[in-house]
């Protein structure tokens, strides 16, 4: 039935960035156990950072190549390249944040870094998965290490609860994903995304019951990936998991898991389903309506509930839900014919800006966190401008960027997302986006008010070690560079073509 593929057919060259990291993670696990003594676990961190650096370098070389590998399961293109860069930067900054944190939390174990690398390689495979099977396997490779990382602070009850909650809802959502994939396979007879695209053409022309299967399948996949990226109504786990997990892990998953999930979602809707319409001749895809409702609900719930939060980790959890809503807005816009590529670019720009800003905010938050995990209340920020003016200033910039104030990365991201939504004819969604951004200013600015305008002792920020500072500086530079020189980022994303183009 199958021809046995030769090594050359696998086209391994294109998969090198992700493959290096996956193999490196396996190697790191061994090296850590065999060669690195218990009190020198920092060496494992350096090795992990070197692995990420190697993968990043290879990614620069394969950046402009495109093609498929692993018999069509894996596709490399510009989208993959940019996504890989975002994911690797996330991992790099997260590891810098972790090094001292896990030491003072008393959970310094070498497998921590290997788990992060496994999760990162899952994200990278997800960004280039071209087949439902590949998306599923990389989704699990992304998630399973994260379940462990969330519970890494054993026997701390909060962390264990966080891990178990994440695990049960994650497994629940992947069951939805598999069932959705099964129904899509049933409707089209293939799991390869480009082949699904071809099959969709005839399904739309026939108008038979396959369209029904395809619609339910798409819905179930949206549920599965929606849990992973935390969009309303699949967001309930987020605040608890983010609060209980060790802070660097929270930072890592708030960006990385979203990047992976949205990469798969974008590729699925743009490569496989862009022309899936119920009645032939429609100019918007059948799934757009649902996607924009999800985006609107996410924006409203995420931003409104964040207002009443008093813990910085929970606040950033709800804020991350809200930001998933803005990215979802771009995904919804992709359902309008001709907007697809612009929507993918907007989503990538938003992710890049969000990545730097959010990691920076978590970096400052963990600087004032105590060794036992307390000190994450918003009131702990009072007086920080006096005790640590530099740290406070950077936190202020991150908060302004999350709000979307000009000259910060957040503004550029929001600008492009709103622009694509308007171009796609989703004016009401764009208006909801602008209004909820105003609401978000309330809770972000409250952090700034606490730091600058309220009198207090001020936290000494014992957690701001050199590695953490370095991570926060990188995040700050990223946020400001995207904000002040957006053409650097837009030039990179300009050439992204993801959408399967066909005349409708």
């Amino acid at each position: 039935m199958f021809e046995v593929p030769s090594i050359a057919d696998l086209n391994l060259g294109l998969t090198l960035p992700a493959l290096t990291l996956a193999l490196g993670a396996c190697l790191l696990l061994l090296v850590d156990v065999v060669f690195i003594p218990h009190d020198k676990k920092i060496r494992t961190a350096w090795l992990a950072l070197m692995g990420i650096g190697a993968s990043f370098t290879i990614n620069l070389f394969t950046f402009n190549q495109s093609g498929t590998a692993f018999l069509g399961m894996f596709v490399a293109d510009k989208f993959t390249g940019v996504m890989n860069a975002i994911i690797l930067a996330t991992a790099f900054i997260s590891i810098l944040l972790s090094v001292d944190y896990i030491k003072r939390a008393g959970i310094e174990r070498g497998e921590f870094y290997a788990l992060i690398l496994f999760s990162v390689s899952g994200m990278m495979f997800m960004a280039s998965a071209n087949d439902l099977v590949a998306i599923f396997v990389s989704l699990e490779l992304l998630s399973i290490p994260l379940y462990v990382l969330a519970a890494f602070r054993v026997p701390e009850v909060k962390s264990e609860e966080s891990g178990l909650k994440y695990f049960i809802l994650g497994a629940f959502s992947s069951a939805f994903f598999v069932y959705g994939a099964a129904l899509i396979f049933g409707a089209t007879g293939t799991t390869s995304l480009p082949d699904i695209f071809t099959a969709v053409q005839s399904i739309v022309a026939d108008g038979g019951s396959s369209a029904f299967l395809l619609l339910i399948g798409t819905g179930l996949i949206l549920v599965g990936l929606g849990f992973k990226v935390a969009v309303v109504p699949f967001h309930m786990w987020t605040p608890d998991v983010y609060e209980g997990a060790p802070t660097p892990v929270t930072a890592f998953m708030s960006v990385g898991a979203k990047a992976g999930g949205f990469a798969a979602l974008l590729r699925l809707v743009l490569v496989a389903l862009p022309t899936f319409v119920i009645t032939a001749g429609d100019s918007t895809a059948a799934w757009q309506q649902v996607f924009w409702l999800v985006a609107a609900a996410t924006l409203i719930v995420g931003n409104l509930v964040a207002v009443s939060q008093t813990n910085i980790k929970r606040l950033l959890a709800y804020s991350s839900i809200a930001h998933a809503g803005y990215i979802m807005m771009a995904v919804a816009a992709a359902g309008t014919a001709g907007i697809g590529d612009a929507a993918a670019q907007a989503a990538l720009l938003y992710l890049a800006a969000y990545m730097f800003t959010n990691l920076g905010a978590f970096g400052v938050a963990q600087s004032i966190e105590k060794d036992d995990g307390s000190g994450t209340d918003l009131n702990d920020f009072i007086g920080l401008a006096k005790s640590r003016p530099g740290l406070a200033a950077m936190m202020a910039i991150f908060m302004l960027s999350l709000t979307g104030i000009p000259l910060t990365g957040g503004f550029i991201g929001k600008w492009f997302v709103f622009k694509t939504a308007i171009d796609a004819g989703l004016m009401p969604l764009a208006i909801i986006g602008v209004l909820t951004s105003v609401v978000s200013a309330f809770y972000y600015v409250r952090v700034i008010v606490n730091m600058y305008l309220r009198d207090g002792e001020g936290d000494p920020a014992a957690g701001a070690t050199r590695a953490v500072n370095l991570a926060v500086y990188i995040a700050l530079v990223g946020t400001l560079v995207i904000g002040i020189l957006p053409m650097l980022a837009t030039n990179i994303t300009d050439a992204i073509t993801l959408a399967s183009a066909v005349a409708r």
């Binding site: 695990f167 069932y179 007879g189 209980g244």
Partner: protein
Amino acid sequence: MVQTEAFVMLSAVLFILGAMGVLLRRNAILLFMSVELMLNAANLALVAFAKQWNQAEGHLFVFFVMAVAAAEVAIGLALIVAIFRTKQSINIDEMHKMEG
């Protein structure tokens, strides 16, 4: 010969039973078994569709789902054991250390 529809209906029933199990049960192990039921419902649908289309991709997918489910079991049971050691309970209603 049994029709594909029959298999798909059965898998849908199993999937819904599994989903209800996750939503209604309170014991972490039972939740976990319900998730496995959902995954296996999807496997049944995949195999039925693979037979209908005469495509091996469906069968292939099932193997990956099984392998991944086994990995999930390993992690899941480890987490459940860890939490049982600290709390002496795996009732998910008692996991309310964080509220707000």
